[in-house]
């Protein structure tokens, strides 16, 4: 998950359902009816009875490393869990997504409900979970490992409550959501996956504030720009061009770009690297940069501006020092490309998610993020990213963690479950 979402600090007042006063639309009425029904009470009781099991599954999965491109071990473990819940057609696809079907009553659409398997942490990171008071700490535990067992609890709750749905629901743990993964799991699902032509709606679960509905996908373009030159000896070859100076020119020029505030558009030099020793003129330096925007035109314009400044930065260095041993050249490699997209406010998934949030006592907050939902959004398939339940913190840092506050957690999970049920036309 790439959009910063503050942990919910819920007052007791918010725990009072306000469904009655907001029940204005057909979706609001349906949501209120669903939440008030006897089956949903059973489903909530199932979640409550499963609380310790959910925590245990989070610990189990967190302690199976899942670095970018290396999610297989965790994927296999999660696939076994999906199978144990009685799903059919359980499988791992070519890129490592794991999934299984909870079949509907027939003739309905296919809905994907997913959380991502991968974390940002490299192989060898200590992922042993530490418990301290009501906190659990380990890299990746919140984003997005905590969402995976919640999905399993949804399946059990649906089964125990005796829900049938019109839609087929594909429960999934997908690969490649984080940085370098570049949404490759969802990309595959929608471009080559066997269900690609059947998916009507898409929900991805991530940690987040209850009531948050991510209905827009921030687009991003990421480049690794490598500057190459002849390299040489700092004393003997002094005076020849250096990729370090060319990169310096590019960084300074990049830092002067003006980015529109609305739609929000940003840029960043994330990583700089290069050179072999203090007394060698580098033969290569590189920078990895990020550009993002909530507007497609603005992202395209920013990308164009960035790519246009590179030749000048390099030419300036080639003019400033000797090119007798070779010139500076550069290569800009696209290393990330997340499409801009959004789900319109009148899409059914938005109306249903908003109605369930309101019926559960939350004021829906719509916003943009950079998640697996970007892919279906960019393809015109309705999609949202919703909060899975737990309060988490310090995502992407070694101090990542989550809180165990069972009443709030269970209430938040109930919102997610109800949204899935409403969307799938459960009975």
């Amino acid at each position: 998950m790439r959009a910063k979402i503050m942990p919910a600090l819920l007052g007791a007042a918010m725990l009072i359902a306000t469904s009655a006063q907001a029940a204005a639309t057909p979706e609001d009425k349906a949501a209120a009816a669903l939440l008030a029904g006897p089956k949903f009470a059973k489903a909530q009781a199932s979640l409550k009875g499963d609380y310790e099991r959910i925590i245990q599954d989070i610990i189990t999965l967190t302690e199976i490393e899942a670095p970018p491109f290396k999610e297989t071990a965790r994927g296999k473990a999660y696939m076994a869990m999906l199978k144990a819940e009685g799903l059919t057609d359980v499988e791992m696809d070519e890129v490592g997504n794991v999934m299984g079907l909870r079949k509907g009553t027939g003739g309905g659409p296919l809905i994907v409900v997913t959380a991502h398997l991968d974390t940002v942490f490299p192989e060898g990171t200590n992922v042993k979970v530490r418990r301290e008071g009501n906190g659990l700490y380990a890299p990746g535990i919140g984003d997005d490992t905590s969402s995976l067992p919640v999905q399993l609890a949804f399946i059990r709750a649906m089964n125990r409550a005796g829900y049938t749905t019109k839609a087929d629901i594909l429960f999934m743990g997908n690969v490649g959501e984080e940085g370098p993964g570049d949404l490759r799991g969802t990309r595959y699902l929608f471009s080559k996956g066997k269900y690609k032509d059947r998916i009507k709606s898409f929900i991805s679960f991530e940690p987040g504030q209850p009531g948050r509905i991510t209905n827009a996908g921030t687009g991003s373009r990421r480049y690794k720009v490598t500057f190459n030159g002849p390299g040489g000896h700092s004393m003997g070859d002094f005076g020849i061009v250096s990729p370090a100076f060319a990169m310096g020119n590019a960084i300074v020029a990049f830092g002067k770009l003006k980015a529109p505030a609305e739609p929000k558009t940003v840029y960043n030099v994330g990583i700089v690297e290069g050179g072999t020793s203090v007394n060698s003129i580098p033969f290569s330096t590189a920078m990895t940069i990020d550009m993002r925007s909530n507007g497609k035109a603005e992202l395209d314009a920013e990308e164009k501006a960035f790519l246009s400044l590179l030749p000048g930065a390099v030419a300036e260095e080639n003019a400033a020092r000797s090119t007798a041993k070779g010139k500076i050249s550069y290569e800009a490699k696209l290393v990330g490309d997340r499409p801009v997209g959004s789900t319109p406010m009148d899409a059914r998934i938005i109306k249903v998610a908003g109605a369930v949030a309101r019926a559960s006592g939350f004021d829906p907050k719509y916003g943009a993020g950079s998640t697996d939902s970007n892919i279906p959004m960019s393809l015109g398939i309705e999609a949202v990213t919703l909060a899975s339940g737990f309060e988490t913190f310090r995502a992407h840092s070694l101090e990542e963690g989550m809180k165990m506050n069972s009443p709030e957690d269970l209430r938040n999970m109930g919102v997610g479950l109800a949204t899935v049920l409403a969307l799938a036309e459960a009975r």
Copy 2:
């Protein structure tokens, strides 16, 4: 070796010894006598017979990685080779220098003859030697790996020719000559090593032009400058200051410094690093830079100019973006400090080296470098850095290589060997 030395292109005319006409000093006469003696002919024959073995040893040692601070594996291999030549007191000292004594006839001084074990290349660099025509290619093969087996060939030549010397000769492979090593091997030898109070003369062998006598030590100051800032999320925190942009400003300003041509003064950005992920504003970036001069005053002035540009580079970034979450600060840490030094022209080692060069048909070229000799020079102990024999090229680059031109190579090696013999008062 830090001074670039052009490979010799020797015309046939230069192959005619001109010792007779130049035999003006006692050292010239002694050199001419030594080169004309029957033992030296045997020594040269030994070098010639060893040529293929020298090449093989160069390949063997080159293919044992020796990154800065990680010379142990190569050091052990070279120590075994020193032992195999029959040296006594063969050992590895506390910092990793390996050495052995060829004892003199008694009552003589101690002379150190050394080449350095370390290369500039980091662990994991492909050091497999590639042969192409009469060229051998691999990172580090020239500087200074090619010198190590030449020293072994010297010992064998002395033994086979039946030379005894008045001086004890300590043959050595030393650590830490390159960049970050900051001459730590020689520093240790002269400050804590067991022979520290006995060393009268010091010769270090490096690749170089025959006739080249490095009798002055280029001084250097090296800094690792770290730029620190609040860091944050590339989207959520866009607009805050970034250490990457501050470093960009510093690199560009550094690249605009004017350095005097005489005494030669240079600067270099050797390594840039920083950032954790493409979508995080770095909390830290760093650059490691090199400044050198053959003049103490010029080096001091350059250092002052460099340190003076840093506050401006940081202030520019603090003015360009928001400091609401914290300002950019920087720390400039001195990571290398090589003393400027020289061996006076009337020192015996200079007179002997010059005489042998002349007697061998070369016009001695005196000059400055930044080598292990800087340390004894700065302590007032006579020292030179001499060419070990092979023509090498592209030192410190991944295209580093050496030529195999056996007549020239053997002649050049003979100059080094004769210098050692003359200095050690061989009979």
